[in-house]
Symmetry: C2
Subunit: 476 residues, 2 copies
């Protein structure tokens, strides 16, 4: 079974292929807006997917303008992926047909398996498991919204809007489809780039350990972000993560922390959440960084993906207005970082660029140079070159009176190949103005976050990652 079972090589090769199919069958495809099969068709046809799409539905000859097939058995050969959105009792037969037809993987959107109280759910789950195992067929779900792979442009989900997510280097794997919808729309609004967004639902045979093993080998997944409620095999996740320890960042947001959460999790995806304290220790031991909110999960992933490493805790806070700089300085210390003490030569350069009208040591109030973008960028460069500084928080609140500062900072960033140290920027602005800066964002060692507090927290997460790398310099 090691070659063909659900843990074998065939299984893993297929799992990898599942996420970049050249052809997709939609079982339960529909022209009716009220059916999930309608939205799956929409996601596939209106997104970037360039491959073939085969609707499967015995009650229609044509769906979304495409020839419909009455059953999986009648599909042409060589379909890579089947997305299944049909009533639960019909699922075992369809999975069996997929195996027989040589379909390489399944996204099982249908709910009503082990997560329900009804014992027939558990029985269905066992039945589908057994069939999948026999065919070495990886199944995402059941009870999932599906997945999006932005790297190759496949939206195999019931949410067409996820085709708007910017392609990037973060792979987000979640036990909850609701969490994917929270994070996916946040990513769209804030311009965060994802490679994959995957709802693993009730994890029939593709669970966190399998996803981490897969993503470990995936060069497009430069950062792995997990939303975990509970699972049956936490040890296997820890083992899979340990192999990657210090090599590729894994972030986790663990929900279901209380006793109530524990039973809620049991109901949701069929697994106990487990004792949170034990989870904390296990995550730490696995070199997984724990975060405390959906916001922080994306912020930290964005920073880890795009920025050069933070090699030390000494942070420069450069702010065009004193207030946001003070806020950032407070949070730098709260995050276990330190305010850098600039070298004498850096301080001299700053003193030359800034009139003695405000704080010129760290946190630097660049207010007196507000109308002098060259001075502000000169201070940024001085600090980037300072050996006593490891990272920079660069804060510029927009005011239309100083549009020039906004545009010159943007042009500077566009002109730089890369920045040598992590710089996290924070720019308030009327919607739209910073779009061009957002283009620069994530490409050149520079990311933007919406508030000084979030910028400082993401810097703290970079520092946590540095400590993981230092603790396990050779990985597992």
């Amino acid at each position: 079974m090691t070659e063909r079972g659900t843990k074998g090589k065939v299984f893993f090769r297929r799992l990898e292929e599942l996420f970049r199919p050249r052809s997709v069958a939609v079982v339960g495809a529909s022209d009716d807006f009220g059916k999930l099969g309608y939205h799956v068709m929409k996601s596939l046809l209106e997104g970037d997917f360039g491959g073939r799409v085969y609707p499967v539905n015995p009650r229609a000859r044509e769906i979304w303008g495409l020839r419909a097939y009455p059953s999986v058995g009648e599909l042409p050969e060589g379909v890579d992926l089947a997305v299944v959105a049909i009533p639960a009792p019909l699922v075992p037969e369809v999975i069996e047909a997929c195996g027989r037809k040589g379909v390489k993987g399944v996204v099982l959107i249908t709910a009503g398996f082990r997560e329900v109280e009804d014992p027939r759910g558990e029985e269905l789950h066992r039945k589908v498991s057994e069939i999948a195992s026999r065919w070495a067929l990886p199944i995402i779900g059941p009870n999932t919204f599906g997945f999006v792979n932005r790297t190759v442009g496949v939206n195999a989900s019931f949410t067409p809007e996820f085709s708007l997510i910017r392609p990037g280097g973060i792979a987000l794997v979640s036990q909850s489809g609701g969490f994917c919808h929270l994070s996916g729309f946040m990513a769209i609004e804030e311009g965060v780039g994802l490679s994959k967004l995957v709802g693993i639902g009730n994890r029939l045979n593709v669970d966190f350990p399998e996803m981490v093993r897969l993503l470990a080998q995936d060069p497009e997944a430069r950062v792995i972000a997990l939303y975990i409620e509970g699972m049956e095999r936490p040890r296997e996740l820890v083992e899979a993560a340990q192999e990657l320890r210090g090599q590729k960042p894994i972030l986790a947001y663990k929900a279901g922390r209380s006793e109530k959460g524990d039973s809620a999790s049991r109901f949701h995806t069929g697994a106990l959440a487990g004792d949170y304290r034990i989870w904390r220790g296990a995550l730490r031991q696995a070199g997984i960084l724990e975060v405390q909110s959906a916001e922080e999960l994306l912020d930290a992933a964005k920073a880890l993906e795009a920025l050069p490493p933070l090699e030390g805790p000494r942070i420069a806070v450069l702010s065009s207005q004193a207030g946001p700089g003070l806020i950032a300085a407070d949070k730098v210390e709260a995050e276990g970082l330190r305010l850098a003490r600039f070298s004498a030569s850096t301080q001299r350069r700053i003193d030359e660029l800034l009139p003695p009208l405000a704080m010129r040591t760290n946190p630097v109030d660049m207010g007196p140079a507000w109308y002098n973008p060259r001075a502000i960028l000169g201070i940024l460069e001085a600090v980037l070159e300072d050996e006593a500084t490891d990272g920079v928080l660069f804060l510029n609140m927009f005011a239309s009176a100083n549009l020039k500062l906004a545009t010159e900072v943007r042009d500077y960033l566009k002109g730089r190949e890369t920045l040598s140290k992590p710089v996290i920027g924070c720019f308030s602005a009327p919607l739209g103005l910073w779009e061009e800066v957002q283009e620069v964002d994530q490409r050149k060692g520079f990311v933007i976050l919406p508030t000084p507090e979030r910028a400082a927290r993401a810097m703290g997460d970079l520092w946590c990652w540095h400590r993981v790398k230092r603790r396990w310099p050779k990985g597992g």
Copy 2:
């Protein structure tokens, strides 16, 4: 002096009038985009201000198409407010002229007073103070961006975009103009309604105590939000706040917490930040709620303004997807709140509305009723009527497959006069879809926040406010 001095009745009447002027002179008005006086003119002329605007500039006959006056002395009688944006050395003479002319108040944008190292700054400050005191002339600033009063539609600042802030019941007073730009643009993006946004800068004679005394009497300021760095007379703030204790919520975000922050604050606005632990105690004693971020300041203010009081700690978490519900449940407990235990009759109603496919006790996973908005709204109503529930977190992550849920929730909220208990909603959605819900937001005892974590935290702030009211039921 009690009638006419800077603490007298005349002074306070003028301070009140300063924020709703019928006519404004702009000293330093300009047609040159590079001057602050250009942007102040733009703010006044392109916003909602219906009164007269008088440019003052000795070097022009016409500015922004209006007749320019060479000096304050030559202005017509009865100008209520002068916004001053001219070099610091010229300020004393202009303030003297304002007093002589009977101008009722001044916004002094000019910087370069006590906050600078140069002893001439301190001297100028003293000089202007003395003049202002002699004329009982309230001065906002110096070193401020100005203020916006959305209730009457005056934008007396150098940031014209602030006229886009939605009128509402939150008065935000900040020692930092940068913080106003951070919060002001956040408020615009998130649709938070403000009555006033005021940068008090270096607080020549209008400091936090004066603003709190003023806002205590202001029916448009239903919630007061403060951003504080440091001040000379913290005791007076505490005293002013105590008079209001338990009557009108005051929130404070205190920056400058570390030693570094202390000296940065000294440089910024001329006041030591002071020992943070002492501040914490003083704020608590004054009945002021402390928050920990710019985000929380607006979120909590929004919730306190719009929602009925949270009378107890028992929270119902209703979520259309289990994951966000689990997250909210975790945070409810972390905020010192409790998950409500529904009464037997409420539980029966929920059990009737929800098939037994998911968690039906609190946190309620409404997933199985995902396609049945009437059931979801029925559960909301059952919980609102339940005597064992004090507040509700109502979470619906959008998926286009279930547009119906989004629109029916919106229609339900539009049709309700008000909700009897605080409900904080969280809705992920592609930009634009929830615009109509945002209209409902804040009007009917219902507010929307972007994440389950922020929703739960704002509920925690409501609970803190309840405890302040309980501790000081009769105010000061």
